[in-house]
């Protein structure tokens, strides 16, 4: 057990090194690369679509949000461009439990429940984005609040400060990053190749470290997760279930694990859709811890701001959709209707998954 705990800490350090390597890689490409990247995601729809597609491809919002934080930290991505991307990551991550629900496709009633359990997360995130993204673009309320919180937390005014901040964690990360950078510099003089190599190393480290943290933490926490879910089944849901969802996700660093664990329970009919719903909302909040951790490695305070924006976006979504019973039921009703239709027309499932998570984001990037 202790070996696993130590391994998790080591992988966490490796994760931060990965974020820093990614940041260094983007910087090594040069200023024009940043400009090209801005152009690519200059439209909020394109940025949102990029966030969805990237998350679907890596099957992990933790990896995509950490990457976004690294890009913001390097200055390659502005806060304005990053906000829709991070919202897109929220939508993209729901594909994992939707895929998990397909395991029940041969059993009519079981599949209907499983698919509704999976798509409730989709509908919640889609509605949140549909309401909050236009509001954010119009008023900037999320990023403004996050900037204010960043100023409070760092004690700096990020609007005027351009000096990279320092901390013991960042100092510790500099040692391995220095070694990697020198090794890459020794290999080639071409800035683009250096940048690409560091970028690839960064992404590989982020992916490997997060996967390993998730695997080890899942093993460390399995007994406790099982006990808390058993208690939830006997006591019902509500805010407690939301906290359970959040804590499980923080501990395993993956909202997909939390939401996918619920699918067989919903499919078997032992966990109602109403009781699974708050757990997924808690998972939405819990998964934002990864971006917050990633911001520890970044040079610029904007990295922390985008991470806080991610958290505020999910908390605002809950405040908007959960407290009022009539509003709370909207994602439930939509998920149930889609599941009923999917049960009758199985081909719709494939159309939904490919359409919502692949085709529409590709169109969003290409057209907008």
């Amino acid at each position: 057990m202790w070996i696993r705990a130590v391994a998790v800490l080591a992988f966490l350090f490796l994760f931060l090194v990965g974020v820093k390597a990614l940041e260094s890689g983007i910087k090594a490409f040069g200023a024009d690369t940043a400009e090209r990247l801005f152009e690519l995601v200059s439209s909020p729809i394109a940025a949102l679509s990029a966030g969805i597609l990237a998350t679907v491809l890596v099957q992990s919002s933790s990896v995509s949000t950490a990457t976004i934080v690294g890009m913001v930290g390097s200055g390659a991505l502005t806060l304005t461009a990053a906000v829709p991307m991070i919202m897109g990551a929220n939508i993209g991550t729901t594909v994992t439990n939707t895929l998990a629900s397909l395991g029940h496709i041969r059993q009519g009633q079981e599949f209907r429940r499983a698919f509704a359990g999976a798509t409730i997360h989709d509908f919640f995130n889609i509605i949140s984005v549909a309401v909050l993204l236009p509001l954010e673009l119009w008023t900037g309320f999320l990023s403004r609040a996050a900037t204010y919180l960043t100023d409070v937390l760092t004690g700096r005014d990020i609007a005027v400060s351009a000096v990279p901040s320092s901390s013991p964690i960042k100092d510790a990360i500099e040692v391995p990053i220095g070694l990697v950078t020198r090794a890459v510099e020794a290999l080639t003089d071409v800035p683009a190749v250096r940048g690409f190599t560091l970028l690839a190393v960064g992404l590989a480290l982020i992916f490997t470290a997060l996967t390993s943290i998730t695997r080890n933490m899942r093993m460390l926490m399995a007994g406790r997760i099982e006990a808390s879910l058993n208690a939830m089944l006997s006591k019902g849901a509500g805010l407690g279930a939301m906290v359970v969802g959040m804590l499980i996700t923080i501990s395993v660093q993956s909202s997909s694990i939390t939401t996918s664990v619920l699918i067989p329970l919903v499919a078997a009919g032992i966990l109602s859709l109403e009781n699974a719903y708050p757990v997924t909302l808690g998972a939405n909040v819990g998964t934002t811890i990864t971006a917050l951790l990633a911001s520890l490695a970044a040079d610029r305070p904007e990295a922390l701001t985008i991470a806080i924006t991610h958290t505020l976006f999910n908390l605002t979504g809950i405040l908007m959709l959960y407290p009022i019973p009539a509003v709370r039921r909207i994602p439930l009703v939509l998920a149930r209707r889609l599941a009923e239709t999917a049960q009758q027309h199985k081909q719709l499932v494939l159309a939904y998954v490919l359409g919502a998570f692949v085709a529409l984001p590709v169109i969003g990037i290409v057209v907008f």
Binding site: A227, S228, N230, M232, L247, I270
Partner: protein, 221 residues
């Protein structure tokens, strides 16, 4: 439910399932004892009836709750110990059936409440069955293979004995008011014994041969 995440328990939730199976076995012994007590002189089957049903409901409730825990376990642990989960599913079904047969035994007592034949010849069979529940529970919990094998062999003999009793009753000249209750009780006790044996087969037999002790003699030999 939030506190469970911070409690010391970090092992498999199957330990809790194991404890509840033991509890379920003891509750089964209780319901069987209650049903059989309806045959004692001076006891009223009607008065005992609600207790029998209530205790059986407790067995059923525990079975459903264990099933839920097993689904949670499989979901969280990704089916790493799926064979064990399937064994538990098989065991709890057998224990639950014992509760049902206890009710069937009580049904016989209730039908004879207003003046039935003397069934005292059944007393030794009743007593040994009640004692068997505890013996099976102990052997199961301790995973004592030697004791389990000895118990299974002994029970195997009982199954034959119950069959012989029923065969003899069918050919006997006894009036139906005496022969039918005896035959029914022999049949119910045989099923209780067989289900208890099924529980114990999990200690000594591989998963695919669970429940087949009595039909697998050639293989065993």
């Amino acid at each position: 439910m939030v506190f469970e995440l911070f409690k010391g328990q970090s092992g498999s939730g199957l330990e809790a399932v194991e404890a509840r199976i033991e509890e379920m076995l003891h509750t089964c012994g209780e319901v069987l004892g209650l049903a059989i007590s309806a045959f004692e002189p001076g006891m009223s089957a009607r008065e005992i009836g609600p207790l029998v049903r209530e205790t059986d409901r407790k067995v059923n409730k525990t079975e459903r709750s264990i099933r839920r825990d097993l689904v949670v376990h499989v979901s969280v642990q990704s089916g790493a110990d799926l064979p064990l989960v399937l064994v538990y599913m098989s065991i709890i079904k057998d224990i639950e059936r014992i509760g049902d047969y206890a009710k069937n035994i009580w049904d016989v007592a209730a039908a004879l409440e207003d003046g039935g034949p003397d069934l005292s010849m059944m007393d030794p069979l009743f007593e040994r069955t009640i004692a068997l529940v505890s013996e099976i529970a102990d052997a199961y919990v301790s995973r004592d293979t030697e004791r389990a094998t000895a118990l299974l062999n002994r029970c195997d003999g009982w199954l034959d004995e119950y069959d012989d009793n029923v065969d003899a009753l069918m050919l006997s000249e006894l009036p139906s008011t005496v022969g039918v209750p005896q035959a029914l009780l022999n049949r119910h006790l045989k099923r209780v014994t067989a289900h208890l044996m099924n529980v114990l087969t999990s200690v000594v037999m591989p998963f695919d041969r669970l429940d087949y002790w009595d039909e697998d003699k050639i293989d065993r030999d």
